[in-house]
């Protein structure tokens, strides 16, 4: 993962109510949850700071109403944050002009919506070509481009269908194709698969993985589904009541949850598929026999380690021994809820 910061958010607040700005000022920019409640304001996003790194998949999770959608709607400026700072590639997102914002949306950002947001009066092709059309791309070119996108999401042959003639999964494919048509640098997905039934959801997740492997975009992805998150994420941010309680790699979330709320999320996660050998590695043990790779997930080496009579050595990519791993460590990580 490169460490280049693509989006930088500092102390973002989004408060809904009659006069949020005045309310913020009265509380010196940091109202307590109690103060919010008393005044009848909703603190949808409260003092959230984080970076999105270029090329990473950042997944945001949290219970319903915890402010996930509001947060990414702040970043995309569909909502204007009440307070805070945001930068996109070094540009102050809150100070850009209307024109620049439109430009950023036209070329840099793509977004997929939970309930698709397709235009009912346009067929698949016209929907996908829509962002290109508003940019003023000429017809032949945008049709060609839209056709490519439609093929990418596997909807070829349905170009002239209208949204109402498509299944939910197909509609979301259109939504995905549309958001990709402009070749955005950063891609926002707000619960893209939660309106779909489980089978189609699994299929769409695989599809999404396939696309991402091809496209390698920076992604901010909202989901309710922790398994989905661990499958896809480089990092996971967990939100509660408008605050970002933990933002970390899936491993750290599983192994070192910041609080009970986070632990609850991670409870049923398939740890063996999340935690890697390096995380539970001990210092070099001279008595170790055999070796496993440091980046390997525990699940794939468990059998080896558990059946060995002695601890096993851990090697890095160059084959150098850098530590050891014991049977007990593997067993507790897999089976115990509060391991590590």
């Amino acid at each position: 993962m490169s460490a280049e910061v693509q989006i930088k958010c500092r102390n973002i607040w989004k408060i809904f109510g009659d006069n949020p700005k005045r309310f913020m000022k009265r509380h010196k920019g940091a109202p307590t949850p109690e103060a919010l409640k008393e005044a009848g304001y909703i603190g949808a996003v409260q003092d959230v700071s984080f970076d999105v790194h270029a090329g990473e998949i950042l997944i945001i999770m949290g219970l319903s109403g915890s402010g996930k959608s509001t947060l990414i709607r702040c970043i995309t400026r569909l909502n204007d944050p009440t307070a805070g700072e945001m930068e996109y590639e070094g540009r102050d997102l809150l100070k850009v002009s209307e024109r620049e914002l439109i430009d950023i949306r036209r070329h840099k950002m793509g977004m997929v919506f939970q309930s698709f947001g397709l235009l009912p009066n346009r067929d698949v092709l016209e929907n996908v070509a829509f962002p290109l059309e508003v940019q003023g791309m000429d017809k032949a070119e945008r049709v060609q481009r839209a056709k490519d996108m439609i093929e990418l999401v596997g909807l070829q042959g349905r170009e002239s269908y209208f949204p109402r003639e498509l299944s939910g999964g197909q509609q979301q494919r259109v939504g995905i194709a549309r958001s990709l048509a402009v070749e955005p640098d950063i891609w926002f997905l707000d619960e893209p698969f939660s309106a779909l039934d489980p089978l189609i959801r699994a299929e769409m997740q695989d599809e999404f993985m396939r696309l991402q492997q091809k496209l390698k975009k920076t992604i901010v992805f909202i989901t309710h589904d922790f398994e989905e998150a661990t499958k896809l994420a480089d990092r996971i941010g967990i939100m509660k009541d408008g605050r970002m309680v933990q933002l970390d790699t899936p491993e750290q979330i599983v192994l070192n949850p910041a609080d009970d709320y986070v632990a609850e999320f991670a409870r049923n996660a398939p740890r063996e598929r999340i935690v890697s050998v390096g995380t539970i590695m001990k210092p070099i043990d001279p008595s170790a026999e055999g070796t496993v790779l440091v980046s390997e997930k525990i699940g794939s080496v468990a059998q080896q380690v558990l059946t060995a009579s002695r601890p096993m050595g851990v090697v890095d990519e160059t084959g150098q021994i850098i530590g050891s791993v014991t049977r007990e460590d593997v067993a507790t990580t897999i089976f115990s809820r509060d391991a590590a």
Partner: protein, 740 residues
Amino acid sequence: MTEATASTFQSESSQGVKMPSYWGVVFGIALLALIFHYISPGVLPDRWWPEWEIPAEEWLTTRIEWLKSEATIFGIAFKDITRAIGEGLKAPVKWAEYVLYRGHANMSWIWLTVILASAVTYFSTLRNGLIAAVLFLTPILLALFLGDAAPESITSLPKMLSDGLKGIGAKALYGPIPWVAIAAGVILLGHWIGGWRLALLCAVTMLYLAVFNVWKDTMRTMTIVVVAVPMAAFVGVVLGIWVTRSKIAARIITPIFDLMQAVPHMAYLAPVAALFALGPVTALIATVVFAMPPMARCTILGLQTVPEEIVESGKMSGCTRRQSLWKVALPSGKRTLMLGVNQVVMQTFAMVVIASIAGAQGLGHKLLYSLQQLKLGTAIELGIAISVVAIVLDRLTQGYANKETDHFAVAKTWVQRHKHMLIFLVILVLSYIAAIWFRDVTIPPSKLTYTGAEGKVTLFDPKVLARWMDGGIREFNKNAFDYINPIRDWVTLNFLIPVRNFFLWMPWPVFVFVVGAAAWRYGGLSVLLLCLALMASFIVTGFWVETMKTTYLVLIATLLCVIIGVPLGIWAARSERVANILMPICDTLQTFPSFIYLIPAIMLFRVGDFANVFAIIPYATVPAIRYTYLGLKRIPEVTVEAAIANGTTKRQRLWKVELPIAIPEIMLGLNQTIMMALAMTAITALIGSTDLGQEVVRSISTQNFGRGILAGFFIAALGIIADRIIGSWADERKKQLGIG
């Protein structure tokens, strides 16, 4: 709810033994006052004191005079502005007339332009086609704008063409579009929108219009419709967009629309007629003003109900504000917008028919004339024409609103996709050619004839049929009047006249007191003040008598509508079968312009209050039926099932469970019924009445517009009073039931 109303509420529920109820007190006081007035008349005032009367009428009349003669805006005389508007609007009306039924020497030139421009478009681009069209139209445009100053060598080109055509005997080529082509166009449109069924309906209608010799009058009516609809739709959309974009606009425009909704058709004519001379332009402007609010409302609704995600996905696609509106919001709200167009068309049509009293030619004018002459046969023929045209207009626009394009269209060839258009073009060309030899292709003949071996034989003559119907009706009346007249006279003498006399006898403070009490009880201070101001407006300006006559008519009609409508609504809610029959009838009844309800009333009862009430009922009962039905249908299933589980009988359920829950909805229906009854009383004025409506009608013929404007306003005032009181009552009730 205010504190006072809250406390009376408690007294009502605390078993009212010690404390008399609010209404007990109010009616008690009113009754005492009436008894007192009976015993010693003259103490309580039954009219406003003449010396205190506000001369609003004179004031308005002088204002109008001033506007028409002296007023200036930014140094431009007001009368010049109105004249310019009038002239500006005359042109499109004239051209619609030429195209639809009159024909004009320039028509052939226009067609030539269309053909050439289409050719250019086909071989080149649409833009070049448009440029070509403008170029070709230069002679006509020059003549239009420069008048005599235009170079004759150019402006006479169209005339040379038409003279040339005349020379070869092809005069028809500069006539109007042949009726055969218009009829075919409508039928094809029907087929395109609604398949064979709608095409058949259109065909029958077109045939009727042709055979019954009302084609020309229909086209006269349609000239104003075709000009007014785009104007009203455009203004409505613009205003609607403005309201959704600007808070200030919303605050200014919304209450104006609310007011406009309470103003009956008729009342729009007086102020417009005051500023513009009587004639088609006045009818056009009044029509546009009247028909515009529904379009604005639908636009607002359409824009506000576009799902948030669609708007946002548009934004994320990088739409500018303008693109958001034109490419996302408006197309997504298309259906609602098209329903707005449907309403505009229907309102326009209804208004044009009524505007006959302000100089609109056509069906309404003829109908009014034949009603006044008691030529009932002709009236029936015209009434049917108006009704079927209304139905066709309604079905076409509604069908179009609901029409969905499908993806299979792409698989078809260009010819397949445009077959309706192509067939129409072919028929258009053929009918023009045929019109060169057969006059009847252009305008339908006044009667159907057949020229055979033994000379000309008349197969069908609508005039003869009308005369025959007249005779039949007269015969029927002669016999039936023996039965009808006594009933009519008995009811009039023993019921209508006494109620009317009571309203006229009643001192106005009593009326004000009772209405004010209701306003205060349900709406609180603001509604009370509004109602007092509105009542004061007609009392202090000397319109008390006319207003009470209207009030009495509307009250009686409303009462009858409720007595008829509510049980019908209940019946429909109970039985699917009844609903399936009744609801389409209601739909159809609402499609007809109110004017035609006069025909049966006059036929059976001639003129008078009885006939007026009779004309109001079919028109104004519809909301009573519909809202009762909807109110009952909307009751949650569980509520009814719980009542069944509690062992209630069907009747107990109706009275104790269903009606109390549905009552707020039913009251809203009552509200609508009152509005429609008010609007209809103004229409009944056309056949003779002595109330506010009559003042409006008379003011137009006597040019005493101040009086007409006031009378129209007072009809609206009555509507607003009823609306505010009943509306607040229903709101309160809904809140209590927890269904607001």
